[in-house]
Every structure is written in structure tokens, then in C-alpha cells.
């Protein structure tokens, strides 16, 4: 197809936004096929909410935080270490993908998952257990989500050589 004589400058690389979107989609695909985090963060949590009567908003908030933390830990921290151990990161290093874009893809996917987990937990609380959630609670949820991928779980991979 192409002849050995190739001199012209290579065409432009794909833009950074499509690349990032691709990475987030890729990580979500992986999470969807390996749904440990979703089970732990959403399903398990919903099961703990059994018992009759009304669930206080504070208890619901606690479950949201627990769910988001579990998801951030199980998808972002554990997943990153596993990918590194298996040599998946090394495979990516041999491509034009910038290192930070891989991490950003993971963060993006984690955020989407955490958001979904929070939404489902709140929904179950409101519909199933008559929790009263006002605008203040929504604000709190946003704060929790904003802090989900922050350094706590991320410092885990440091111990590897």
C-alpha cells in the first residue's frame, strides 16, 4: 500500500478532547464488564437499607458516602494497581496516549460511576423508604462527589516498586 519512501510530515494527532472521551468510554466499558464495584457500591448498599419505616436523611447520606467511597476505591485505586501489575499500563506507554490522559480517563469513569451510585441510593431511599431529600441534600451530594477521586485512595499505588 504505502511505499517505503515516506517523507512528508505525519498528519495531526487526534485532539485531546476526543482522546479523553475515548478513554472515559474505554474505562466505563471495562467497569461494565467487571461489575464488582457497582455491586458493592449500589446493590449491597441497597440491601443494607432493609427494615421497615422511614429512613432518616442522615442515614441515607451516610450510605451515599459509603457507596461513593467504595466505588472510588474499588474502581480507581484497586483498578489502577491491578492494571499496573498486569502490565496494561506498560502497553499504553507504548502508544501516543499521554500518561495523564489515561489517569483522567479513569477519574472520569469513576466519577460517572459514583454519580450513578449516589443517584440510585438516593432514589431507593426516597421511593422505597420515604426519605425526605431537599435541595440541601443535593448540595451535600455534590460535595461528596467532588471529593470522591481525591488523594485518599490514589496514594495506594505508591508502595509498588
Amino acid at each position: 500500500m504505502s511505499s517505503p519512501a515516506r517523507r512528508p510530515a505525519p498528519p495531526r494527532l487526534p485532539g485531546i478532547w476526543p482522546t479523553l472521551a475515548g478513554q472515559v468510554r474505554y474505562q466505563l466499558l471495562l467497569l461494565g464488564r467487571n461489575p464488582n464495584a457497582l455491586v458493592a457500591g449500589v446493590l449491597l448498599l441497597s440491601l443494607t437499607a432493609t427494615g421497615g419505616g422511614r429512613v432518616p436523611v442522615a442515614a441515607l447520606a451516610g450510605r451515599v458516602v459509603l457507596g461513593v467511597t467504595l466505588i472510588a476505591y474499588l474502581t480507581h485505586a484497586v483498578g489502577l494497581v491491578a492494571a499496573r501489575e498486569a502490565g496494561v499500563l506498560k502497553r499504553w506507554r507504548a502508544t501516543p496516549l499521554p500518561r495523564w490522559a489515561y489517569l483522567a480517563g479513569r477519574l472520569g469513569a469513576t466519577l460517572v460511576m459514583a454519580l450513578a451510585s449516589g443517584a440510585v441510593t438516593v432514589l431507593v431511599g426516597v421511593l422505597g423508604y420515604h426519605a425526605r431529600v431537599g435541595p440541601g441534600a443535593a448540595l451535600g451530594l455534590l460535595i461528596v462527589l467532588a471529593s470522591a477521586p481525591s488523594p485518599g485512595p490514589r496514594s495506594a499505588p505508591r508502595s509498588a516498586p
Binding site: 500500500m1 504505502s2 511505499s3 517505503p4 519512501a5 515516506r6 505525519p10 498528519p11 495531526r12 494527532l13 487526534p14 476526543p18 482522546t19 475515548g22 474505554y26 466499558l29 471495562l30 464488564r33 467487571n34 492494571a83 498486569a86 502490565g87 496494561v88 506498560k90 502497553r91 507504548a94 502508544t95 501516543p96 496516549l97 499521554p98
Partner: protein, 279 residues
């Protein structure tokens, strides 16, 4: 400009000198096999005119790497993995074309975790070529594969070389180098001991001649049997015709190191009269 330029590479592991001042070039479109290579710690290597450690994204898009000890996400299907990697390159090969090249068109929808070792290796090669690299590095592409899988991998690599890609592959199998490469570089005890066409390395048409001047008093009695017959201490040289070049050179270099004999003027060439006169 050469596709790959390597100058004065060296590497030591304690006492062991794994690379000692190794230099070579690879021209565009050439397929070169390297035997006995180790990662260097000193010297310079340039690929497409840039040093790999400093080069940016645009350069990485022109180079394909298939390394050992990497792995692929087992949850992805073959087609998905190729698509995700293809999106990183400016003008990728169509995924279907890559699937044909790696002979996995029928497995596009299968998850990588379900593939055999040989199939996985071919997916890895597919990821290495999906960006249409100008230079492709294959690090022992068939190590650990059974003979049938190895032959299949060879067919894939041959398909690439027809497309004009420069390929540098490391291997421990002389058979592999002979089948795939235009040129074979043999490293023994850290030194580049042969740079030849594959046919010259193991006698298909002709045997190979190894010539080296011997310093006075060299302990020729201790030479490996295959070499001892060719030693002529009176004339101060050793001339060996052999079809087993790698083994012969390995024995020669080992002997030279044990006795601290400098193999200055060592020549390896086809058995027909060499174009250069021996020194």
C-alpha cells in the same frame, strides 16, 4: 536518515558485560533481527532521528512497539481493543484490515481473556501496527508460543514487511531470524559479532568463514574442539568454516574472554572470497 541509529551502547550487570560498545544502523524498509540483545545503560539510540526517552507524542505515533511482559485488558473484545488503540493515531489502519493481517477476523467479537496465548500475542502485534508505524519493534514476538502459533505469527510479520514497514525484532531463534529478516545482527558476550544476511549465517548456499588474527602465545589448546582445528598458531591466525556460526562465535568469544585475548580484526563473512581482505 536511517530509521534506527545506535551508537556505543553499553550495559553491565556486575561482572557481566551484556553490551559493550554496540553500534549499528537500520535503513528504512529493512527487517533486522537481533540476537542476544539487552537493554542498554549507556550510549545513544535514535529512532527516526529522535532519542526515544525524549521524543513526544507525534514521534510515538510513528513507532510501533510490541514488548514482552505487557498485557491487555481481558474484558475487551479483540475488535474493541483495536478500535480503542486506533483512535490514538493520526491515520490508523482500518480495524478490519488489522484483523486480516493478524488472522483473527473470526475472533473480532471474542474477549481477549478467552484467547489462547498465541492469539493474544497476535492481538498485541495488531495493537503495535494499527497506527501504521514507520518503525516497528518486536521484542521476542514468538517466545513461549507452540510451533503452530509461531508459524502463524511469522505469517503475520511477513505480511507487514510487504507493506514496507521497517522492523527490528529480537529473537533467540535463528530459524525465526532466517525466515523473517533481511539482515541478522548477532550479539555474543555483549559484542556485535555478526552482521550478515540470514543465508550467510547458516549454510543454505554457502558456509560462513570466521577469521581472526591470533596474538603470539595465544592458548589455542584450550579452544573449543570445533574451533581448535582451524587454529594455526604458526601463521598467527584462526580460520574456521562452519554452518553453525552462532555457536562457533559464542565459543570463540568465551575463550577469548577467559584468556583475555583481544579479538581485534575478527571477520565473519560468506565462504566465497570476501570483498575485503583480512587484516
Amino acid at each position: 536518515m536511517s530509521a534506527v541509529e545506535v551508537e556505543h551502547l553499553s550495559r553491565r550487570y556486575g561482572e557481566l558485560e551484556a553490551l559493550a560498545d554496540v553500534s549499528f544502523e537500520v535503513a528504512a524498509g529493512e527487517v533486522v533481527a537481533l540476537e542476544g540483545y539487552r537493554a542498554p545503560s549507556g550510549g545513544t539510540a535514535r529512532v527516526l532521528g529522535e532519542e526515544p526517552g525524549r521524543a513526544g507524542r507525534a514521534w510515538r505515533a510513528r513507532v510501533g512497539l510490541v514488548l514482552q511482559s505487557t498485557s491487555l485488558d481481558p474484558q475487551l473484545t479483540v475488535g474493541e481493543a483495536l478500535g480503542i488503540f486506533a483512535a490514538l493515531f493520526p491515520r490508523p489502519r482500518p480495524v478490519d484490515e488489522v484483523l486480516e493481517l493478524i488472522d483473527l477476523a473470526g475472533e473480532a467479537g471474542i474477549r481477549i481473556g478467552r484467547l489462547s496465548g498465541g492469539q493474544r500475542r497476535r492481538v498485541d502485534v495488531g495493537l503495535g501496527i494499527v497506527g501504521r508505524p514507520e518503525v516497528l519493534f518486536l521484542d521476542e514476538p514468538t517466545t513461549g508460543l507452540d510451533p503452530a502459533a509461531r508459524r502463524q505469527a511469522w505469517t503475520t510479520i511477513e505480511g507487514l514487511t510487504e507493506a514496507g514497514t521497517t522492523v527490528l525484532l529480537t529473537t533467540h531463534y535463528l530459524e525465526e531470524a532466517q525466515r523473517l529478516a533481511d539482515r541478522v545482527l548477532v550479539l555474543a558476550h555483549g559484542r556485535l559479532v555478526a552482521d550478515a544476511r540470514p543465508g550467510q549465517l547458516r549454510g543454505e548456499a554457502a558456509e560462513t568463514v570466521i577469521r581472526v588474527p591470533l596474538p603470539p602465545g595465544a592458548p589455542t589448546a584450550d579452544l573449543p574442539p570445533a574451533l581448535a582445528a582451524g587454529a594455526d598458531p604458526g601463521a598467527g591466525r584462526l580460520v574456521v568454516r562452519t554452518a553453525e556460526v552462532t555457536a562457533a562465535l559464542d565459543g570463540l568469544v568465551g575463550w577469548a574472554r577467559r584468556h583475555r585475548v583481544e579479538l581485534a580484526g575478527l571477520e565473519v563473512g560468506p565462504a566465497r572470497p570476501a570483498s575485503r581482505t583480512p587484516t
